[in-house]
């Protein structure tokens, strides 16, 4: 058995269920739609400076919610196999379990790299055209704009793999989604309440905060890590989680 066969099989799997199309549609619609809404709401106040927030935080705003779709797609790639019992079919066909994990991670990563970048580009075009009408838009060659658009692809790509690792560990869709949302969305405001430098650092290192800043031109929160440093931290965190999932997946009964 060659790895390309396993890769081909996982690619066939992911593109032949409707949930993939729905999840990816949710990614695009939420990201672009919410960016447009937020830009519409904020454009005038940004123009007359009654709203003291960086413009760069608005042009890709919808991704803050849209990222949920990437997380869920990653989780489903593993958990749906457990809920349907198909994991046994998968592992009977490909008993080399590490290859299964690697193939799933590669397929998800590549898919979200492309779609994440495309989604961010559309969000920028739509959001920025609204801001442009008030004269506060950002040019593509303004600092951070291109980095954020390609960064969104990178971030969502790794986030989907983060979801895959959660799905493999928890093996249950609802459970894994709950834990995923808790880690990415809920935990960080709570961690922020911790006092002093400890709380501040922990907040910076939370996966969503560390990884997310690469996907924003500017952040509302000035205390985040530098985008590339943050992305490296998030990638390392995902790597650790995936390594744990990988190790357990090879040992546990299917």
């Amino acid at each position: 058995m060659r790895f390309r066969h396993v890769l081909d099989a996982e690619w066939t799997k992911i593109r032949t269920v409707r949930s993939t199309a729905w999840t990816l549609a949710a990614l695009v619609v939420l990201s672009v739609g919410l960016t447009a809404l937020v830009c519409l709401a904020a454009a005038a106040e940004l123009a007359d400076s009654t709203l003291d927030e960086p413009v760069g935080a608005f042009v890709l705003w919808g991704l803050i919610v849209g990222q949920l779709a990437a997380l869920v797609l990653g989780i489903l790639a593993a958990s749906a196999e457990y809920s349907s019992g198909m994991i046994r079919t998968t592992l009977a066909a490909v008993p080399r379990r590490r290859s299964v994990v690697a193939a799933k991670a590669l397929v998800l990563g590549a898919m979200l790299l492309v779609l994440g970048t495309v989604t961010a580009a559309i969000s920028y075009l739509v959001g920025n055209s609204i801001l442009d009408r008030q004269g506060v838009g950002l040019a593509l060659d303004d600092p951070g704009v291109l980095r954020a658009i390609t960064g969104a692809g990178l971030y969502l790509s790794v986030l989907a793999i983060f979801g895959l690792a959660l799905g493999l560990l928890i093996r249950h869709t609802a459970g894994a989604v709950t834990v995923g949302i808790a880690i990415i969305f809920v935990a960080s405001p709570l961690v922020d309440l911790l006092p002093g430098a400890f709380g501040e650092w922990l907040n910076k290192l939370m996966p969503g905060n560390a990884g997310g800043s690469i996907a924003m031109v500017e952040s509302f929160d000035p205390n985040l890590l530098d985008p590339w440093v943050g992305f490296a931290v998030f990638t390392a965190e995902t790597g650790l989680l995936l390594a744990l999932a990988w190790w357990l997946f090879a040992r546990r009964d299917a």
């Binding site: 066939t12 799997k13 269920v17 066909a93 008993p95 009964d253």
Partner: protein, 321 residues
Amino acid sequence: MITARGLTKRYGDTTAVDTIDFTVAPGTVTGFLGPNGAGKSTTMRMVLGLDRPSAGSVTVNGRSYRDHPAPLREVGALLEAKAIHGGRSAYHHLLWLAKSNGIPRRRVDEVIGLVGLDEVAGQRAGTFSLGMGQRLGIAAALLGDPDVLLFDEPVNGLDPEGIRWIRTLIRNLAADGRTVFVSSHLMSEMALTADHLLVVGRGRILADTSMAGFIAENSTEHVYVRSPHGARLTEELRAAGWRVEATDDGGLAVYGADLEQVGAMAGSHGLHLYELRKIQASLEEAFMRLTAESVEFHAGVPTVPEPAAAEATTHLTPAGV
């Protein structure tokens, strides 16, 4: 050929499969018979490398399942019918499976035709009836044209037509010279399909015998007779050399005699008879007797020593097991 040596699976304090040894030979249908919870599915999952044995080993064609480079070309398995994602079409389910083992796409169309799913191959598997789902599972098992086939409870929940279809298929696969291993909790089903029988209960092999041998051993018939002169009749019948046992309802079971002999014996001594008939012990009863102990265990009733089961085991287990 499937070979298990000392195969054991423990879950905490529970031993699901307890040091079993068996061989499943090519060209025959080997029935894996036992009550629910006897360890059949666990054993099959270990054959497929899905569950890791706590001890011992099992190989398929001389190699551990995980060491086969393209396992679907060696072993086809029908696990529970729901080991399929309901949102994917039958065709796409078979397509990803084929790709995972480098099996050409045209083989997907072939197996769809073989199991008669042509009309519905484009439909999502979640919309399938139990019978159609089972056919899809069998198509998946046949995809790599394997020499070894495992079917876990293949007729469960099927209609009579589906059951007959699967029986014929299983017989034909063995006639091709393939190794076919079929699990079931129904003796009657095994009697119709299996050449060889492995009876399991509480994770242990209770019998490893040919189907013909099992039938000869267990479908013993006897004469049932009820008379107001039971004690006297027993004496006379025993004097004539027949084995007689009292039954629970006050009658007598006479072994080795036929109806006419018992009737004549009673008549010649002037003993009244209220009832006289022939009893054919069913295979199902023999199976129940054999596995009684393990069923009691699962029902949570205190285990009573069951001499019948122990006796049957020694009768049925050939040398070497």
